[in-house]
Symmetry: C2
Subunit: 250 residues, 2 copies
């Protein structure tokens, strides 16, 4: 572990050496613990050439400071009372000022990591990690990259894959009644899931309305439902369409 971090530190230094021509990234630190705050501030000022333009001990103060200073980077402690860090990050992202936020916390809880990355954090660092790791992360994020240490990255992906697996189990079920539909029935159902009436379906498919009704009735029987709405719901809940879209809760 220590060797690993020393390696990372040397990388970071290499990176920074190569970037000296660029302007120093301006940073705002947010941590409700004042001790930590000044500790990190000192660390950054000594170990790097970044510019800590402001610090805040609460999320709301932080946000007004961000509006005022427009820093490149915000280092945000996630574990804060009052307004929590995740919400704060979400708000900052919503402002759309191009500010890049790095989450800072003591826990490597995969759920926290997942949520932070989801709402737009550009990095996630543990307080227990060596200072070099922090500097390196800021470096990467300041250069437009998104940085998650390998250990956390691994945990993130485990969580990501697990939550996705639970989803697909439902979809990939062999008992999916949608598989029994004929091609034409699928086409009809497709149009139904767009909220189109029978008349509309008939026009789109160049068939008579009664034919549509026949197809629809067959669909009902195959899907074991009683009406259009239920058929559409069955289709949507069992991955008929919209497999493209992404919907994840915060």
């Amino acid at each position: 572990m220590t060797k690993e971090l020393k390696n990372k530190k040397s990388w970071g230094e290499q990176m920074r050496r190569g970037l000296e021509f660029k302007k120093k990234a301006r940073i705002i630190l947010v941590d409700d613990n004042y001790e930590h705050l000044s500790g990190i501030k000192e660390l950054i000022e000594i170990e790097s050439d970044f510019d800590v333009v402001a610090t805040a001990t609460s999320a709301s103060v932080a946000i007004s400071l961000i509006k005022k200073y427009r820093p490149e980077i915000v280092l945000m402690d996630i574990n804060m009372p009052e307004k929590d860090g995740l919400t704060a990050i979400a708000e900052i992202e919503k402002l759309d000022l191009g500010v890049r936020t790095i989450a800072l916390t003591g826990y490597d809880d995969p759920d926290l990591i997942f949520r932070a990355m989801k709402i737009g954090a550009k990095g996630y660092i543990l307080k227990t990690m060596a200072s070099a790791q922090l500097i390196y992360a800021i470096d990467e994020v300041a250069n437009g990259k998104i940085y998650l240490p390998a250990t956390l990255s691994s945990r993130f992906f485990e969580y990501f894959q697990k939550s996705f697996k639970e989803e697909t189990q439902v979809i990939s079920d062999e008992e999916n009644l949608l598989n029994y539909l004929t091609q034409r029935e699928e086409e009809v159902l497709d149009l139904l899931t767009q909220g189109i009436t029978y008349k509309g379906v008939a026009q789109k498919l160049f068939i008579s309305e009664t034919t549509v009704k026949t197809h629809v009735n067959n669909i009902f029987q195959k899907l074991q439902v009683n009406d259009r709405t239920q058929a559409v719901l069955y289709a949507l809940n069992n991955g008929f369409l919209n497999r493209r879209k992404v919907k994840i809760a915060i």
Copy 2:
């Protein structure tokens, strides 16, 4: 870049040295290009102490070999004709044999990376990456971790955040017509999104059917739709319910 890789190489070696008491991980290689296949095989046999138990030049052959040999690791080229690598990975995951698959490809297309990780790949390596990187990745994955090189990881997260941002924009929109519904109307719509008829809604809410109709008509006007199905679709597409669920397309 070269220095970076040299560092990674040394890490890998350290890791392996510390793991000599463990049994050698058994690997199956899959690549439709025979030249690549033997090249990688040689590389692994010389540069590591992993055991390449079999190779395949097609996904279907690979899958039967996997069933036979039950390797710890599968190194899968994604760009193959016939059955493509992603589908193959999905099938391997479905078998649920505990086999851990690493995707191998020439492209760092974020969509490819995203899809690979989503279906359960435990790693993703570019062919252009140095051999040490490959060995290190296998090491990590063999040790139960999920490994994505920092560069690819960054691209993955950009894609991840972007696709998620597009989703939330729709939901967090202030123009969301659902916000204009009264509480009672929401209750009615809630029941409609479960495929319940007016009669059923009336019974559930202990009101008359005509009252339900009144509410429904008001809902239609507020949501600017013409029928039940469209109202349900509007509700589902605009985050009325089911904000919990995760739906991601392959």
